[in-house]
């Protein structure tokens, strides 16, 4: 009876895991590693040959490539910065307002703010292009109505404004996501804690800064990482609004559009899957480093409160 019977292989675990593992491997893991592999090859005379790290040397060493790469990376950085400085604080503020029990129609506001998130980026890009258009847009007319016409610029066509404008359009579209996540986190804070704080005289704004904010910090951390990953993988909005050449003068070129142009080709430029994969691998590396910094540098220091 007490024989140290070998534990029976628990087949049901394998069976239940299999679908997810298989699908995930087929659509994510295999393509990812194949991309990394492709970046080590090049095509010469219709034949794929192994070139080691030569593609990376070209990407970072050749002035023509590296200039474009650093430009795209810097633009990506700015894109991310705007999201961190505008999208996330606004999202947190909206969540704080929405979670206030005295606000009426909060369900309506919540849906209204979240709806752009589920719109297709094609619709968003096109709609905003029309809104901001110097010819048919309502932006010049609206500014004119309040006597501020002189502030109007063809924003999407000016190098100095185009990227910021598109970042703000993206913020408009996705502000619902941090709002929802923070909203959920705020709701999960037990009333007892807030009431205990009230007894100690912490109410109103002070309650937000001193009690709620520290409690939602882990959620803010997660949102920052999600924003980082999404921003550095961004492509769709820029492509829909400015095309693959990310004009004016590459001022809105981000890693995604740079990769697309290189991989699939553009107009007379023929596609180069190997250099494209090299850029994709560099993007993967950048995102990996960013996420690692967050995981090891920040998340470990965040305290989790158990209620």
């Amino acid at each position: 009876m007490a024989a140290p019977s070998k534990q029976k292989t628990r087949w049901h675990i394998v069976v239940f895991l299999a679908p997810a593992v298989l699908v995930y491997t087929a659509v994510m893991i295999y393509p990812l590693f194949n991309t990394l592999r492709l970046s080590l090859y090049s095509e010469i005379d219709q034949e794929r040959i192994w070139v080691g790290l030569q593609n990376f040397r070209t990407l970072f060493g050749d002035a023509i490539w590296s200039e474009q790469f650093w430009n795209a990376l810097a633009n990506n950085g700015w894109f991310f910065l705007i999201h961190m400085l505008v999208q996330n604080p606004i999202g947190i503020a909206l969540a704080a307002i929405l979670s206030s029990p005295r606000l009426r129609f909060s369900a309506f506001y919540r849906s209204a703010i979240f709806i752009p998130t589920i719109l297709s980026f094609v619709i968003v890009g096109f709609a905003w292009k029309l809104i901001l258009s110097p010819i048919w847009g309502i932006a010049p007319g609206m500014l004119d109505a309040i006597g501020l016409k002189f502030l109007y610029q063809p924003w999407l066509g000016k190098e100095e404004y185009a990227l910021t404008t598109l970042s703000l359009v993206s913020v408009w579209q996705y502000v619902g996501i941090p709002m929802m996540l923070i909203y959920a986190a705020l709701l999960s804070i037990p009333d007892e804690i807030l009431e205990a704080g009230e007894c100690d005289g912490i109410t109103g704004m002070a309650a937000f800064w001193k009690i709620k904010l520290p409690l939602i910090l882990p959620s803010i951390g997660i949102i920052s990482v999600l924003t980082f990953v999404a921003n550095f993988n961004a492509f769709d909005l820029i492509y829909a609004a400015q095309g693959a050449l990310a004009g004016p003068d590459f001022s809105t070129d981000i890693l995604g559009t740079f990769m697309y142009r290189t991989f699939f080709g553009f107009q007379l430029q023929l596609g180069d899957p190997h250099m494209g994969s090299t850029i994709a691998s560099a993007m993967f590396g950048i995102i990996l480093i960013g996420v690692c910094i967050y995981l090891f540098g920040i998340q470990r220091r965040l305290r989790n409160y158990q209620f």
Binding site: I64, S133, G247, P248, L268
Partner: protein, 418 residues
């Protein structure tokens, strides 16, 4: 041996099966980026072909122009592309031919209907093999609003000086935007700007061939002068042209709000449908009255055969028909503005299209300077030209700097220019 016999048996079986089922009903699928032409193919071209060849069914399945190259390449690699492939001119198709995706059509009987210039867009560099049947070219020039010209009292410009005088007159009048063009989408500045007016300065084929041979440089006067012209365009392009897109420009012109539209002839059918005023066209103005005029008569569309097609005979029958004057006539009149390249004479009915094609008699024809050979390397000369043309129009870069930047880029990979 064994596999061969097996293959033979299988082949025979399929052939027998096919002929038994129907009288060898072949189905051809056409890959194309011309989704604007879907109706014309379905209503006019395909019925005309099927009436003559009832045993072949044809399907036209276009994709979006901007994605066409990428989509086609992926489909060809995956083996799921159609039997007939609409060919972009020059390197995109040459790469497909070299990769074995396009069949060599040099020996095809219909090919004798085309001149070497017409075939240049779809031949190997040495001209030994041609892999697409030239289908159509587009001619560049300027389309203008006749009513606006009458109202403001401006004559149709022939020379550079008259051209800018006309623009100035419209600007002073204030009722019309002098020129409908924007820089948001970038390509118009290069295609309808630089390559439209350029041939007059670099003397068409003469300059283009000299550039390919390395005898001229992009910093030479002939190649910088067009940029000097473009630099003056910005003043006449309407408020906020920096964010004006290509469809915006088309709409501004067809709504009658602009006087002049730097055009490619492909606009004709769309404009005819949209505009309710009378339109005319003039060729790019020459420097001095009496100079020889040059036009960009660009080989734009060809059509070839997927080397992996299941029904090569049917595909060849179709391509031979495309090379015939019957197809040219249907095509040219259904799509005024796409001019057939075959030697056979074709009657055009559309007055605007007639105006464009009449320049072939009075001016020297050339093709866009960046398309043959010169856009093979990195940086890509065509993309750079888009960028430079926009920068020059906006005044961000001087014509000389633009020329120098392009020359440096070209010289960095193109041996004859080094």
């Amino acid at each position: 041996m064994k596999t061969n016999t097996l293959k033979g048996v299988l082949l025979a079986a399929t052939l027998l099966g096919a002929s038994a089922a129907t009288a060898q009903q072949a189905e051809l699928t056409i890959e194309s980026w011309r989704n604007d032409d879907l109706a014309i193919w379905q209503d006019k071209i395909i019925p005309a072909f099927e009436a003559e060849h009832p045993d072949i069914k044809v399907k036209f399945t276009p994709s979006a122009p901007a994605e066409y190259n990428a989509v086609l390449n992926s489909k060809l690699d995956a083996g799921s592309a159609g039997d007939i492939i609409t060919c972009r001119p020059f390197d995109a198709s040459l790469a497909l031919y070299e990769a074995g995706h396009l069949a060599d059509l040099s020996g095809m009987q219909g090919m004798s209907n085309f001149s070497d210039v017409a075939k240049s867009g779809w031949s190997t560099d040495d001209g030994s093999a041609t892999y697409c049947v030239p289908m159509a070219s587009v001619i560049h020039g300027f389309i203008y609003n006749k009513d606006a010209f009458e109202e403001v009292g401006v004559a149709v410009p022939q020379t550079e000086e008259e051209f800018f005088a006309a623009l100035e007159a419209f600007k002073e009048d204030g009722n019309y935007i002098p020129m409908a063009m924007g820089t948001n989408d970038q390509w118009e500045a290069a295609t309808m700007g630089y390559n439209n007016i350029g041939p007059n300065y670099w003397k068409g084929e003469e300059g283009r061939n000299a550039l390919i041979a390395g005898e001229q440089k992009l910093t030479d006067e002939g190649w910088v002068a067009p940029y000097r012209q473009l630099a003056k365009w910005g003043d006449y392009m309407g408020d906020g042209y920096e964010a004006q897109t290509y469809p915006d420009s088309q709409n501004i012109f067809t709504l009658g709000r602009a006087a002049i539209y730097p055009a490619g002839s492909w606009e004709i059918s769309g404009f005819n449908a949209q505009a309710d005023f009378e339109m005319g066209a003039f060729n790019p103005p020459v420097q001095n009255a009496g100079d020889t005029c040059y036009i960009s008569d660009h080989t734009d569309i060809g059509i070839g055969m997927n080397a992996a097609t299941d029904s090569p005979e049917a595909a060849k029958t179709f391509l031979n028909w495309v090379a015939s004057s019957e197809f040219s006539t249907i095509f040219a009149n259904a799509l005024p503005g796409f001019f057939p390249l075959s030697n056979a004479a074709v009657e055009l009915e559309d007055p605007l299209a007639q105006e464009f094609i009449s320049w072939r008699d009075t001016c020297e024809s050339s093709i866009r300077s960046t398309y043959q050979i010169l856009s093979r390397g990195t940086p890509n000369l065509e993309n750079e030209t888009w960028n430079a043309s926009v920068a020059v129009i906006k005044g961000d870069e001087s014509p000389e700097d633009a020329g120098k930047r392009l020359q440096d880029g070209l010289a960095s990979w193109y041996a004859p220019q080094q």
